[in-house]
Amino acid sequence: MSQVISSKGSSAAAPGTFRYQLKSFWSDFSASRGALFGLIFIAFVLLVALLAPWVAPHDPAMQDRAALLVPPVWHAEGSWNYILGTDAVGRDILSRLIFGARYSLSISAMVVVISMCGGIFLGLLAGYFRGWVETVITRVMDVVLAFPSLLLALGLVAILSPGLTSAMIAIAMVQLPYFVRLTRAAVIGEKNREYVTASRLAGAGHMRLMFNTLLPNCMAPLIVQATLSFSTAILDIAALGFLGMGVQPPTPEWGAMLANAREFMTSAYWAVTFPGLVILLTVLMINLMGDGLRDALDPKMKRS
């Protein structure tokens, strides 16, 4: 994303160059106020996550035994010391949310990277070689898709023993088929285009054709899918946490925070409400951004 932003300041570029493409992409993307807003919000969350040790008022693991379930500052019993209140063992909720951003964002980013790389690889193989390779890959993906994703992820986490890494792998696994299908479809669509044939005639090998020629031209839908799966990953990890199988406490991951505080829904709403709200807002903003991306990348949706 930072790449895109830095290109903004560049002077007039000639049509057809990468710079020009970027510029046109940016003008399309920024035309949507929502997308821009989403981007700014996510950039802000990223910044806060990066600077967590400096911006968080407290150590996220510090337990203040004298301040269990203190309400947020606007309540009579609240204090500026704990702006959003504390949880059941006296930890500052705001600080945990700030540190939690690190986990939630990085886990989700890893999920996207894993499932996208795996999906692109398998999808390219399937779309490029067709035949039995395609059959095997699509059938296996069908099997994965035949189970409710959450159930499958739940089982995978249990098999790998609950924790950060296994939640990541499990969710990446259930996201994989979407990338495979998308890549495969895009590759099949592009494969018989002239530029591919030309490249093949020029003596390009399988690898070169797949990764250098075909892939860049299939990226647009994949990037859109990536933002989509980024937001789904945040939700899925939170859902796993809710069912007690996600990231394990004391890690201040948002879903785990929510799940851990569920018993206080009626007695200490803040412990449940804020993590939920942060999840909702982040996912919403990523989706807003994703919408903008799609509009900018998908020529069909462009304003005429």
Partner: protein, 530 residues
């Protein structure tokens, strides 16, 4: 089978339709029963739905206590050598009349013998049906203990034991010993559908079964022929509601009148609610952190004691139990006879703990704390407890890693004699006997099983509890158990953490409910005031 189900349903409709002013009590139960034959299962949820409502036993625990009182047996004698126990049965006990069964005779000695035969006689059709999976009967070694059961006359039964066993009569008050109807079950066998006994139960209890919708509701009707008289309420419904939050919401909305297992965090707001009363009682349980006493440096009592002093138990009560519990100093709960209240607990004192560790030559200790993944009656949240311990131990220079496994795996690994570190676990009493705690959890026989995860085998302690087990006189036994608690405290194989408090929230108009210290939920004698 379909036909009978249908018939049951039609009858149920008619019954629920006719009495307009019928009193119905709805209980928001915490889970689905596994079935309705209590001898097959081990969970409290199943017992609440079967043995506590539909069945009776020869003897029973007096409501609200762990004392025995007569039930189907009006009296009993034990022979001098302790080998023969004779029960005299009431002659006015009828099995329930439902649309799927009409008894032709009152309960007699045959039914009692049948109840035990089906769990121990390999030729009994029910033994064959269940493949002998009568878990409680098996785990208590009843098959080996009972040498024979004789019918003296229609209302007298004699149990002959292979060795004297002090708690035997009390054991017959447990759920697995619920009396079944021989007539009904033989009839089912003749019809080729013996498995129906588990789906359409017949007992002698205060309520009779109407129907069960899986995961949704169980309906009962007051048994009009109950030997203690018909119940004040006409219908009893178990509305299956696994989520504590939702149960509370339902109670507030008036969708149910009684609920078990509230969130400790909600209890305060319940108490403030004008429509809700909350009964409470100390639970018959203990939660503990068991050090592996065979492992260095936990093999030294002074190290164990130092760690105990480093852990702030009151903080656990506040943050994990939300006040719904009390700190524990002994391995048995304070409501149990022989509880030694003179014992001084190791006080929370991080400085002294640090000193003691240094004296014992323990430096830079790194240890595992095992936290179970599930909520148990004695421990609402083991992970949170472990987090608190972790932070306490850090203050005395001990690095604690929290480890956890899936529940079955957790027990299996903790049962391994060489498991690494200290394990959070606990126990809920089956009967009121101290042996059920100290004998089960801390005896040499338990080493290498999931019962004794401290792997504690200390001869002076062992001698005391073994001697207490064979004695008949309760005062003598209590003296030995009190001594055993002293030895326990010196040795400190556990950090005794807490005894949880049992809460039963219910609407204000419910009367006559008593909390069962053994953890069951019974609605005998419960009424709703208009």
């Amino acid at each position: 089978m379909k036909k009978t189900l249908l018939a049951a349903g039609v009858a149920a409709m008619m019954m629920s339709a006719t009495p307009v002013m019928a009193k119905t009590l709805v209980y928001c139960s915490e889970g689905s029963p596994e079935g309705f034959d209590p001898s097959l299962y081990t969970t409290g949820t199943t017992f609440d739905a079967s043995s506590k409502t539909i069945y009776n036993r020869l003897v029973q625990f007096k409501p609200g206590t762990t004392e025995l009182e007569p039930a189907i047996a009006k009296s009993w004698e034990v022979s001098d050598d302790g080998l023969e126990i004779t029960f005299h049965l009431r002659d006015d006990v009828d099995f329930q009349t439902t649309d799927y069964f009409t008894p032709s005779r009152p309960l007699n000695a045959d039914d009692v013998i049948w109840t035990f035969e089906r769990q121990m006689d390999k030729d009994n059709p029910y033994y064959k049906l269940a493949n002998g999976s009568f878990e409680y009967f098996q785990s208590m070694s009843m098959g080996e203990l009972i040498k024979s059961i004789e019918k003296v006359d229609d209302h007298t039964v004699k149990f002959v034991l292979s060795e004297p066993n002090a708690p035997f009569v009390a054991n017959l008050g447990m759920d697995f010993a619920s009396i079944h109807s021989k007539e009904y079950e033989e009839q089912l066998v003749d019809e080729g559908k013996p498995e129906m006994a588990n789906q359409q139960p017949i007992g002698t209890g205060p309520f009779q079964f109407l129907n069960y919708q899986e995961d949704a509701a169980i309906r009962y009707q007051a048994n009009p022929d109950y030997f203690r008289g018909k119940q004040p309420i006409d219908n009893l419904v178990f509305a299956i509601t696994p989520d504590a939050q939702v149960r509370y919401q339902k109670l507030q909305a008036g969708e149910c009148q009684v609920m078990p297992f509230p969130n400790p965090a909600d209890v305060d707001s319940m108490k403030q609610n004008d429509d809700i009363q909350v009964l409470q009682e100390a639970g018959l349980n203990v939660a503990y952190l068991a050090y592996n006493t065979t492992q260095k440096p936990f093999d030294k009592p002074e190290v164990r004691k130092a760690l105990n002093m480093a852990i702030n138990k009151q903080a656990i009560i506040d943050a994990v139990f939300q006040g719904a519990g009390q700190t524990a100093k002994n391995p048995i709960p304070p409501t149990m006879w022989s509880y030694n209240d003179d014992i001084q607990d190791d006080q929370y004192d991080p400085d002294k703990a640090k000193q003691m560790l240094a004296d014992a030559g323990v430096k830079n200790l790194e240890m595992n704390i095992w936290a179970m993944p599930v909520q148990r009656p004695y421990m609402p949240n083991a992970r949170r407890t472990a987090e608190l311990m972790q932070s306490d131990l850090a203050k005395v220079g001990v690095t604690a890693n929290i480890v956890t496994y899936e529940w079955g795996e957790y027990l299996k690994r903790a049962a391994n004699k060489d498991h690494d570190g200290a394990v959070i676990l606990g126990w809920t009493g089956d009967n009121g006997d101290p042996d059920n705690f100290m004998g089960t959890l801390l005896s040499c026989a338990g080493v290498g099983t999931s019962n004794n995860v401290a792997e504690f085998c200390y001869q002076p302690f062992e001698d005391l509890i073994q001697k207490a087990r064979t004695l008949d006189d309760q005062d003598e036994r209590a003296k030995l158990y009190r001594q055993a608690q002293e030895v326990f405290k010196e040795q400190a194989p556990w950090d005794t953490l807490a005894h949880s408090t049992v809460f039963m929230p219910m609407t204000k108009n419910v009367t006559g409910y008593t909390i069962d210290p053994l953890g069951g939920h019974s609605f005998e004698g419960v009424d709703i005031e208009e």
